[in-house]
Structure formats: C-alpha cells, structure tokens
Symmetry: C2
Subunit: 501 residues, 2 copies
C-alpha cells in the first residue's frame, strides 16, 4: 500500500460513513418534524439495521488497514491527513471495544426513548420516561468502562462533546461564573423591571414564519443549502455542508422565543455551511466540539441577536410584518424586551444572564446520576430543590421541570456544559473581533457578512481539524478566560437595568 | 441447511432490504417535500452509496444460498413462503444480470433527473430536461437487454409495473376504451355544460389543509401510521404498513384538485396500511402491481369520491369550513362540479371520462421512445399532435405539456397504462362489491369501513402474494373485462349530462 492508496481508501469509506450518517439523520429529522407517533417503532428497526451496517463499515478490515498504514506513516503526512488519520485511529479502536450488539441496541434504545419522551412531555407523565434515563445512563457507563476504563464515566461523556473537558474543569468554570452571576442576578432583580409589553401581544404563526425567513436573510444564510422546519424542540443538523437543517418552535404569545431560536440555530447552521470544501465528505467536516458549536450559536443568539444593533436592524421588518403589534413601539423597546432578565422555569426561554444557572442545575444532576448518587426516581425532587436554590423559584410540574429538554432522551448526557462554555467562548471572541473591526456597526448596517467572514476564517473553515482548546487559543492568541464573559454580562446588564457596572 | 434456517435467513435479509428501501424512500420524500434545490447532489451521493450496499445485500451469497435452498424445496413450502421464494429467486437472478456500476449509476441518474425536471417545469425549460429522457430510456433498454433479452424492452417496462402486461394487451385494452370513450366524449361536449361555479371561488390553503384531515377521517385512514405532506406532484409512499405517506398539491382557485388528490392517494395509502401483518418486513408487503394499486386509488377517487353519496357525505363539512364559498350551493352542485367533463391539458386535473385519453397520449409516446422511432427532441411536437388528435386541444407550452408529469424524470416509463387499467379494474370491482352490499349507501352513511373491509379481505391483505391477473380473477370470479368500465362511464355521464345512456 502507498500513502496515496491508503488516503483514497480512507476517503472512500468516510464518504460511505457520511452517507449512513445522512440516512440516519434524515430519518431522525423526519421523526421529529411531523411523522406520526405510530411510525417510531418501524423507524427504530431501520435505524438499528443501518447502525449495524455502519458499525461493520467503521470497524472493517479495509478501513482499519488503511488507517493503520497512515497512522504508522503519520510523520510523512500533510497536517490535514495526519489529523484525520489520528482521529480515525482512535475512533476505530474505541468503536471496536463496543460489541456490535451493544451498539445496535443503544441506537434502538435512543430512538424508543425519544419517542417516549415526546409523549411523556405532552402528557406531563415523568413516570413513563424515567426508566429510559436509567437505561441510557447504565448503557453509557458500560460503554465508557469498555472504551476508557481509566476515566470517570461522566468525564468520558463530557469529553465526547468537548475534547479535554472534565468535571474538574467544569467545577472551576462554573465557580467562576456563579461568583459573578449570582450577585448580578440579585442586582437585576432588585432593579426596576424593563417593559416587555411588545412581546406580550399575539403574533400569528404564519407571519412569524415569514419573519424567520427574514432573519435568515439578515444572517446571510445560504437558503439553497439550508432549510427551516418546525419541531417541539429547536435544533440544527448538518448532513454535510451542502444540506443543513434548522428548526424552531413557534409560540403565538411569545414571538421572541422563536426569533432567538432561529438566530441561535442559524449560528449553528452558518458554522456547518462554512466548513472548507475540502473537508466535505470527511468526518472532520463538522464543527470541532459542542462548546465551539454553541459558541457560534450563542454568539449569534445573544451577543449579536440581543444587541441594540441587531434589534435596530430587525425592527423595521417587524413593523412591516406586524404593524398592529408594534404600534407605538421602537427598536429600543424590542432591545429591552429581548433582554428582560428574571429567574424562570424554562432553559430555552431564559435570558442571557440567568441561562448559566439553568445549565448548572443540569450539570449537578448529571454528575449525581453518573456517580450513582441518584437515579431517575430522585430527579423531580432534586430538580425542584436545585431550581429553588439556584434560581429561587418553585417548579409546578415535570413538563416545565425535568421533562422540558429533549437532550437526555437522546443520550446527550454531558452536553449541557457546552452551552455555558460556548457563551463564555463567545464573549472572548467578541473582544478579539472588536480589535479588528466595528462588530456592532457592521450588524446595524446589515453587513453581517463581515462577522461571518471573520468567523469563517478563524473557526468555521477548519471543521474539527484542531482540538477545541487548541483552536480557541489560536483564535484568542491567549488562553480561554471566563472573565471576558462575566465582564460582558456586567456591562450589558448595567446598561439595561441602569445601575453602575 | 433446514427449511426453517433458510426461511429465517431470508426473513432477516428481507428485513434489511426493507430498511434500505425505507432510508432511500425517506430521502426521496424529504427531497420532494421541502429540501432546497442545492441539497440534491448530496442526496444523490447518499442514495448511490446506499444502493450499492443494497445491491451487495440483495445479490450476496447468504441470501442466494437461502433462496436457492428454498427454491429447490419449493414443493415442501407453505404457499406464502413458496411465493416469496419464487419471486426472490427471480429477483436475484435478474439483479445479478445488472452490473453494480450500472445499478448505482442509474440510482444517481434518477436523483439528478428528478431535480432537473423540477426546475425545468418551474421554468418551462424542456431543453434542460430532454437529455435525461434519452439517458433514462437508453439505460432502461440496456437493463432490459441484460435481464430479459428475449423481451421487447417496452414490454419489459410494462411488466415491471404490471406483471404480464404487454404492448399487445395494451393495444387491445386501449382500443376497447377508445371505441366507447371517444363517442361518449363527443356526446358530452355537445351537451349543455354543467355548472362548476362552486369550484371557481378562492379556498384558502390553510383551510384546505383542514379539509384534507377531514377527508382522511371519512376514509378511515389510520393517522397514527399515515401522514400527509405537500409536494408539486402528489404521490403515496409506504415504507412498511406502519409508515405510509401521502402528499397533495393545493391550488387556492381549485379546491377540488387537492380534494381528489387526497382521496386518490388515500386509496393507495389504505392498500399499504391494509396488508396483512405477517407480510410486513417482507418484500411482498406492498401492493401486487401498479394496476391493482391504481385500481384502489382510482376506485376511491372516482367511483367513490365523485359519487353523489360521497359529495353528500362531505358537503356539510365543506359548508362548515368554507361558509362563504358554499353559500347557496348544495351537495348536488358539488357532485356536478366534481364531474364536469371537458377535454383539458393536465392529466391530474382531468375528469374521469377524458382521463384515459391523456394516458393514451403517454402510452403512444413511450412506445415510440422505446422502439427508437422518436427521441426526446421530438416529444413537444408529438405531444401537441396527439393532444390535438385525441383531445382536440392545443398545447400552449411544455409546462402544461410534456413537462407536466414527474413520472419520466423518475424512470417510470411503462407506468401510465396502470392508471387506465386501474380505472377499469375498479369498475369491475364495484360491480362485484355491489352484489354483496349497498356500496353507495354505506358511503353516504359514513360507513366507509364496509368498503375498506371488503377491499382488505379481497385485495389488500395479500400484498403481492398473487400475480395481478390471478388476484383480479379470484376477486371477480371471472376474467377482467373493460366493458364494466365503459358501461359505468356511459351510465354515469348520461346521468350527469342528461342524455340517454
């Protein structure tokens, strides 16, 4: 075998793996965008069969031999191929440690679990979903013990979403956040509340759909390769850079909810769409980590989307689409409504300031689930206790409590910290970006392509060629520091609520 | 190997084949229900890769050995297994005659062709789509010469949709139809035209969507396993009996168009949903042939849907949903509007009487394409000539002419005759059904489950265990006879247009 032959073989098989990802992804997308409940079981059968075929492909001799060869010659490879070979070498070794039966059963479990969660949330019936939490945690702990027996199983989960992240790092990070955020929340809640009456009116869903299109246009999202759907829980999925999907959830009595979902998911979509062409049809063709992914989505949602510049840009369109609802209101009113901060029940509806507290609740629970300190039956009580402790509010039911997020039903234990990390990355990105150009000036002038170009150049194009901390330090020119985020919050909320920063 | 072992192996691999069908089907469904144009190429890559994997599965040693074993012991098998083994034996032999490269390239060609057709129709640009017609016909002729060199290639196509159908049989069948239909059309066009002003008003699409739900309820379609989407060209696809999709196309200025699309596709859906449980996850789990499938859809669309009984059933709902548009109108007006007959340009909008003439145009063109008498460049002119000859009308552009149907872009040459055949099967089915119960009485009383039970018992449950002619003769208790259809038309149109039958 020559290096060229091994590269060709690897590329050919990665392309096939991506085709299976695509098929599974579209089945999932179909399942959450309208397929009736009775179709879930059949979909589970298909997903299980595809996952078995994919397992065979991803652990097969052809791929293994090509990757072993490249790995043995890694010093002779160009940097891109080297990174692909190294990752693939680890992926194959990890996957081979999981028996195929376990792998397929896990696929089937997640499909079933998502369908049960959906119904459980609708019917506020936690008891029906609870067993799935235990089953998934048990499976993940078993997989972690096979793949990385030296690691704490929750560290294994964290690392799978953000390479290098550990409980230890989380503790330091969350301590830094809560030290600044908790007193800031107190300051905000003792200030005069801002007026959000603009968001209290009714906005017909059909017109909100038009607003979504306008928002995507403001963000310069390539609609020829990105569509928007409607789901219970908004998300983004990219099959390759040529086919990216975002979804949102419309509430007639809260148009800002969908607006910020679209801007958030649009940030994810831009990242996927912005990967370099030569990485498409390779598995490093997606974002580097969930923390960096969330840094893009939360950067767009909060730092851009909840800025005065963005509300100034969007408000005339809002007036055009909703003349009655916006009568007598200004862009400033929209900015205030978009930044109203108060402790609340639902994470995805939370303001930028209290958001991290919602994440900390989930982080504490996940840690305890993985250490065995609690099981599913303890969660509603623990959830209520932590919401009281961190946010000072009572949880009326499981639908607005432990059942609210889809993540656990999809096996995404260890994902939540990425959101907080992403927010913090975003603030440091802003600082760096502002050294180079007037970010908010560009946004206000509908020149978001300047923001996009900068992010494409520094982050998007690389897919996951770098490790997340490597990439972030390369962009920042220094280590990651959450103080940028807490300083940003202090300054922003002082302006909104009119106290000294 | 024992018979039981061979059966288990066959069932296991058929289940996998169905999973690949499901994945490909959902990718197709996604492509036509909203995915942006720029995603087509990526989807083509995935479909090509899946089709290669499916080819390997369907021609692999494991399956071949099991099927050869069962085929060798066919006299010892139960009738269901015997039919499955015989079909599978032929399928494997046929598929093995097609080189895998040809098979995969064909999948890719069809995906590309569908996407090009879609744009060509939108832009009335036949030239961009024409080369695909030639490429597809060439490929199909090449495949026919490999699989069945003894057969005429168009007969091969006809047989692939309706086992046993040939050009020779089509000639006889279409001659029988045109002998009766052509003079009947003349009689109708020289009569006083019926009033269809009910269908001339504007019906908002959002409310038409509600009407679709009501129609599916009248038809007793299990919504837990059947959803409805919106596409340019209405169709039905069933992944298994547990997941069936229908689609429709709404026109604000012609609500009857979507209404009859829903009833037509609903008829297909009922068939797929009604297959026996023990055939699910086997490939005979779908309908027996396209002619029989169309007999169900066109039976529901025309014989049931365009009956006085059905319009009486539906009209109160129409009044409830569209009080303004239906003011001063009656169920009788709806029945008349639904049966207005006049030569027209668009097949899917054609009335029940002139419909067969549209089919004959396509049949004549397909025959000539496969005999080499014409190529794609000749079609617009030939189309115009045949529409003038058969329907007496001029074709203003290709969008309303040769580009109107999606079939050719999807490789469905030889499919069209199934529609006419299905219509004719349907009339003979009605005759048989009426021997046993009052069909239209049941419909008017919202007891369509009686119709469904009869069809399930006689047709749906069997999937494709029987050959189409076998099944039809079993149901009819005598050979198929198109006179039932022409007699039905004569009687019906005499009543509508008030002349002697």
């Amino acid at each position: 075998m020559t290096i060229e032959e091994a590269k060709t073989k690897l590329a050919e098989i990665e392309k096939k793996e991506i085709a299976y990802d695509h098929a599974a992804g579209i089945l999932y997308y179909d399942g959450v965008t309208g397929a009736p409940a009775g179709t879930a079981e059949n979909r589970g059968e298909t997903l299980a069969i595809l996952s078995e075929a994919q397992y065979a492909l991803s652990t097969g001799d052809e791929l293994t031999e090509a990757v072993e060869f490249l790995f043995a010659h890694k010093d002779e490879l160009d940097p891109v191929t080297r990174r692909i070979a190294e990752r693939k070498h680890k992926d194959i070794a990890d996957l081979k440690k999981i028996p195929v039966e376990e792998y397929v059963a896990y696929t089937r479990l997640l499909n079933e679990s998502e369908s049960v969660w959906h119904k459980a949330k609708e019917e506020n019936d936690y008891a029906s979903f609870a067993p799935y939490i235990d089953k998934i945690v048990e499976t993940q702990k078993r997989i972690a013990s096979l793949v990385a027996p030296e690691k704490d199983p929750y560290d294994y989960q964290l690392d799978s979403f953000e390479e290098g992240l550990t409980k230890e790092k989380c503790e330091v990070f969350f301590a830094a956040l809560s030290k600044e955020i908790v007193p800031l929340v107190k300051k905000v809640t003792s200030s005069k509340q801002v007026d959000d009456s603009l968001n209290q009116k009714l906005y017909p869903v059909a017109i909100q759909e038009k607003l979504s299109d306008e928002l995507m246009a403001f963000m310069k999202i390539d609609r020829d390769h990105c569509m928007i759907g409607t789901t219970e829980h908004p998300f983004t999925t990219g099959f390759t850079k040529y086919d990216v999907r975002i979804t949102t959830h419309y509430h007639e009595d809260n148009f800002l909810s969908s607006l910020f979902s679209v801007v958030h998911e649009g940030g994810h979509a831009l990242y996927e769409l912005g990967v370099s062409d030569n990485l498409t049809y390779t598995r490093p063709g997606g974002g580097v980590s969930m923390g960096v992914h969330e840094s893009q989505s939360r950067f767009y949602e909060n730092i851009i989307g909840r800025s005065k510049a963005f509300t100034s840009l969007v408000f005339p369109t809002l007036q055009k689409l909703f003349p009655e609802q916006t009568e007598g209101k200004t862009a400033e009113d929209m900015w205030l409504a978009a930044n109203k901060s108060e402790p609340s029940l639902i994470r995805t509806e939370a303001d930028e300031l209290t958001y991290a507290l919602h994440i900390m609740v989930r982080y504490e629970i996940e840690k305890k689930l993985f250490s065995g300190e609690v099981t599913s039956k303890d969660l509603p009580e623990l959830w209520a206790k932590l919401y009281k402790e961190y946010l000072g509010i009572d949880v009326p039911d499981d639908k607005q409590g432990v059942l609210q997020d889809s993540h656990w039903s999809g096996g995404l234990f260890g994902y939540f910290p990425s959101y907080a990390l992403g927010s913090a990355y975003g603030a440091q990105l802003l600082d760096k970006m502002e050294e180079e150009f007037d970010v908010f000036g560009a946004v206000e002038n509908n020149e978001t392509e300047k923001v996009n170009s900068w992010l494409r150049e520094h982050i998007w194009q690389y897919g996951c060629l770098y490790k997340p901390t490597e990439l972030m330090e390369k962009v920042f020119g220094k280590p990651f520091d959450p103080t940028y985020f807490t300083d940003y919050l202090k300054k922003k909320y002082a302006a909104i609520y009119g106290f000294e920063a």
